[in-house]
């Protein structure tokens, strides 16, 4: 969160991810303990004409940067990318001479919708800070689609977010993977086929929030995770046994343990807020104890200290380019964090954890890339692009669907006014699943939330 002028800094809402070969998107299989359909996505692709963007520098996030290239997409899917692309007669032709084209921006760590603007108590829906373990809550049940911060993020080129619960709790609840589009309900935004994430948090936040009742120490934090997963193991065993023979009454459902059991089955991806290197190593031991994987460490300001370990484990990191110093566990943040994780063979992503920062993840990635290079770490443009596209898609388990510009991928595409690693670059057009959801030069494609109606001041006019 941005700090207000002249006020004392406040704690950031929370804050990591890394990588390896593209995995299969984990199947969001029906939880075996639940036979009914659970809160399904009602997402529908908007119908629109095919689009061909010509004469642009196409940055594919697959290792290629095509000068004077073209991209064609139709029916929400990328059809062709290359130096020359045949366009059908009914295609909308966009001349992007001098412009740059990238995959849609993906933020692995957002609180849009759950900490909506204006930031009042009434809109504070991100932390169910009533118990250190609230695996039973789901971020989508807090998410407000009319959050006026959503169009601002879209104008920054963002097409997909992971909306997370906050970091007050050891286990904060399920995340929501959302297409960032104007919608009446969160169900219309739910990314079809995306697995859920589970927010977990290390360190200062949980032990501060629960200091009077516990956990009040880092060792107390660890004991809390372990107690929860011991219960989850037993719960999973009860259900697996019943599922095998359906004898007698089914076990009692428990929402909290249902989610944790899905983590143990590998269907829900662990997204772990954790700053310090030594604590990340503890969390990896926890994951080994119970046989699950940590998909990504979020914030991970000390990831560079254990970049080798993270690469071996295949755990990604979601980091900032430059946040540091707002609390003790953030003291050792350095600009070169992402670059060092990359160099060690890990999978970095640049995340925002901020309603302001989400609007310029391209700038933050550029910053982190150039600092890495100046430190002698050879980061390619394609690698830095993947920090907020392909790697981020992997963290969310949707890398087979989005994150690169390749035929067959969902047409989440951004046209930038300039090199996206420049401070002067702005998103000119944002296509989400082929739908022109934002156009900087066309007010007809600049969505406004209900909240904004009637609120926009006119200079010098009576209000």
């Amino acid at each position: 969160m941005r700090l207000v002028w002249l006020t004392l800094p406040v704690l950031a809402a929370c804050a990591t991810a890394s990588g390896h070969p593209a995995s299969q998107a984990p199947t969001p299989a029906e939880s075996t303990s639940v036979q009914r359909a659970q809160y399904p996505s009602t997402y529908h692709r908007h119908a629109n004409a095919p689009v061909v963007i010509r004469n642009a520098t196409i940055m594919t996030a697959t290792g290629q940067e095509i000068p004077n290239g073209s991209i064609l997409f139709r029916d929400g899917r990328i059809v062709a990318v290359g130096a020359t692309v045949e366009a059908p007669a009914d295609a909308v032709v966009v001349d992007a001479t001098g412009k740059f084209v990238t995959p849609g921006v993906i933020d692995t760590h957002s609180h849009l919708g759950v900490y909506a603007a204006p930031g009042t108590d009434a809109e504070s829906d991100g932390n169910e800070a009533t118990n250190p373990v609230t695996a039973e809550v789901w971020a989508e049940h807090s998410f407000w689609p009319q959050d006026p911060q959503i169009p601002l993020a879209i104008a920054g080129g963002v097409t997909t977010i992971q909306a997370l619960p906050g970091s007050a709790n050891l286990i904060g609840g399920r995340s929501a993977i959302l297409k960032l589009i104007p919608a009446r309900t969160v169900q219309e935004m739910k990314f079809p086929g995306a697995p859920y994430g589970l927010k977990m948090a290390c360190g200062e936040n949980p032990k501060r929030v629960y200091r009077s009742r516990g956990p009040s120490t880092r060792m107390g934090n660890m004991a809390g995770y372990r107690a929860a997963f011991i219960q989850a193991e037993q719960y999973r065993q009860r259900w697996d046994k019943w599922d095998a023979n359906h004898q007698g009454d089914p076990p009692q459902r428990d929402l909290k343990l249902e989610t944790l059991a899905e983590v143990l089955r590998g269907h829900i991806l662990v997204q772990n807020h954790c700053y310090r290197a030594d604590e990340m190593a503890q969390m990896l031991d926890l994951a080994h104890e119970f046989g699950f994987k940590i998909r990504a460490f979020h914030h991970a300001v000390e990831a560079y200290k254990i970049a080798d370990l993270l690469a071996r484990e295949g755990t990604a990191v979601a980091v900032w380019a430059d946040w540091w110093g707002f609390k003790e566990e953030a003291m050792d943040g350095i600009h070169e964090n992402a670059a060092l994780v990359q160099a060690a063979g890990g999978r970095p992503t640049i995340h925002s954890d901020s309603e302001s920062g989400i609007q310029r993840l391209n700038q933050e990635a550029g910053k982190a890339m150039y600092y890495g290079r100046r430190a002698g770490i050879d980061i390619t443009r394609d690698q830095a692009l993947r920090w907020f596209t392909a790697n981020a898609a992997w963290v969310l388990g949707i890398d087979s669907l989005v994150g690169t510009l390749e035929p067959g991928k969902m047409a989440d595409v951004v046209v930038w006014s300039a090199d996206p690693f420049s401070v002067y670059a702005k998103a000119l057009q944002v296509y989400n699943d082929g739908w022109l959801v934002y156009d900087r030069n066309d007010p007809a494609h600049q969505p406004r939330t209900d909240f904004e109606l009637g609120q926009e001041p006119v200079p010098g006019a009576d209000r």
């Binding site: 700090l3 002249l6 800094p9 200290k305 309603e355 430190a375 001041p457």
Partner: protein, 402 residues
């Protein structure tokens, strides 16, 4: 040590020099002697004893000034023991000058100055009248050495943030400020009565009323934090009533009343990347800085996050993206803050006689691809090191050597 600094002569040669007070000069020299700028131009004679810095192909600018934040007043935001910016509990803390709270050993100083920010404001925080802000150079072993100007203004808060202390209503905040100002003038007229306890109780302590007198006599600016248009208008009204030298800060909806602010001759301190709506400023938008500049308002650009004061460069670059000219943005982080804080005779541009705060950049200072190559503060070259740089060196190759 001071003698050593004063003895130094540095010649930065061959660079494109942006004096800010005038047009850029190609292949020019900036000559620095005894902590001051001794010469600037394309034809400068370089003394034989000068240390030369070859800036061929580089950009040379004045050191940047961040007119916000709590540099030296906070080390770790979440650790109360390292925070010095707020005096507790005092609604009217006009006499609270932050200077002796500044920690010259703060790690933030090195982290910031190696990114080309050479001077920052150290601002008091909290309450209705927060205290006195001071301007510091990011070098020096003692507070005395660091201080560039103290105070530069008294800070008051007319935003939603101070409402509770002001009585729970914006109207009450304004009335309380008026009462305090009148009491200060009354106190000045009747100091003898006051010391004999022959006056009604006043709305603030004698020290705070005394501290407000330079503001009420127009010798010291009142820096008013206000975001909502109506609060900005209240600030302008108060300034008219009491003939104050007003500086607006925050000022998120200032673009709505840019013409009025321009005609009042009031400068405005804004953070370009503010655009998240709140009930304090539903009209907040990226174009604020450029719209104010177009209306003729003197604009100063800020980065308010003290730990990332170094991102003032990014703020300025984004101000350009949203409508300021590049030259306006550069001025808004150099000469304009120097003028607004009353130190333009010594700071803000590359002119003979000014304090030698100079930065050599590999390219456009607002771009991420640009490296800071040399930082000179008060005529002395600063080593480009920090605790963060040491962490990088330690962990660049794993395992580290302890």
């Amino acid at each position: 040590m001071i003698a050593l600094i004063l003895a130094q002569t540095i010649a930065i040669t061959g660079g494109t020099v942006y004096p800010v007070s005038g047009p850029k000069i190609e292949q020019a020299t900036v000559l620095i002697r005894d902590g001051k700028i001794a010469a600037v131009g394309a034809n400068v004679t370089i003394p034989a004893d000068a240390t030369r810095i070859d800036a061929t192909g580089k950009w040379v600018t004045p050191g940047f000034i961040d007119g916000a934040g709590q540099m030296g007043l906070v080390e770790i935001s979440a650790v109360g023991g390292t925070r010095e910016a707020a005096q507790r509990p005092d609604t009217i803390a006009a006499s609270f000058n932050v200077t002796e709270g500044i920690n010259p050993a703060s790690q933030l100083i090195a982290v910031t100055r190696i990114e080309g920010i050479t001077t920052t404001l150290a601002t008091p925080a909290g309450h209705l009248v927060s205290g006195q802000a001071v301007l510091i150079d990011l070098t020096g072993a003692t507070i005395e050495e660091m201080t560039a100007q103290s105070p530069v203004g008294i800070v008051a808060d007319l935003s939603e943030g101070a409402k509770d202390e002001g009585g729970g209503s914006r109207a009450a905040v304004a009335q309380l400020l008026r009462e305090v100002f009148r009491d200060a003038l009354e106190y000045e007229r009747r100091k003898t009565d006051f010391t004999r306890a022959q006056m009604q109780p006043l709305s603030a302590s004698a020290a705070d009323l005394e501290a407000l007198l330079p503001v009420l006599h127009g010798r010291l600016p009142l820096i008013v934090l206000a975001n909502r248009r109506s609060d900005i208008e209240t600030a302008l009204r108060l300034a008219r009533e009491f003939k104050l030298r007003l500086i607006l800060a925050g000022a998120q909806e200032a673009w709505e009343v840019a013409a009025e602010i321009a005609s009042a001759g009031v400068p405005v301190l804004v953070q370009p990347l503010d655009n998240i709506p709140s009930y304090d400023a539903l009209g907040v938008r990226y174009e604020n800085a450029s719209l104010l500049a177009k209306a003729g308002v003197k604009v100063v650009l800020l980065e308010t996050d003290t730990h990332n004061s170094r991102n003032l460069r990014q703020q300025a670059g984004n101000a350009v993206s949203y409508g300021m000219t590049w030259d306006q943005a550069l001025r808004a982080i150099t000469l304009s803050p120097a003028e607004v804080f009353g130190v333009a005779d010594r700071y803000g541009s590359l002119d003979v006689g000014k304090v030698a705060n100079v930065v050599v950049w590999s390219g456009d200072p607002f771009e991420f691809s640009t490296a800071v190559e040399h930082v000179i503060i008060r005529g002395k070259e600063i080593p480009l090191t920090s605790r963060q740089a040491e962490l990088l060196q330690r962990y660049k190759t794993l395992p580290p050597t302890y």
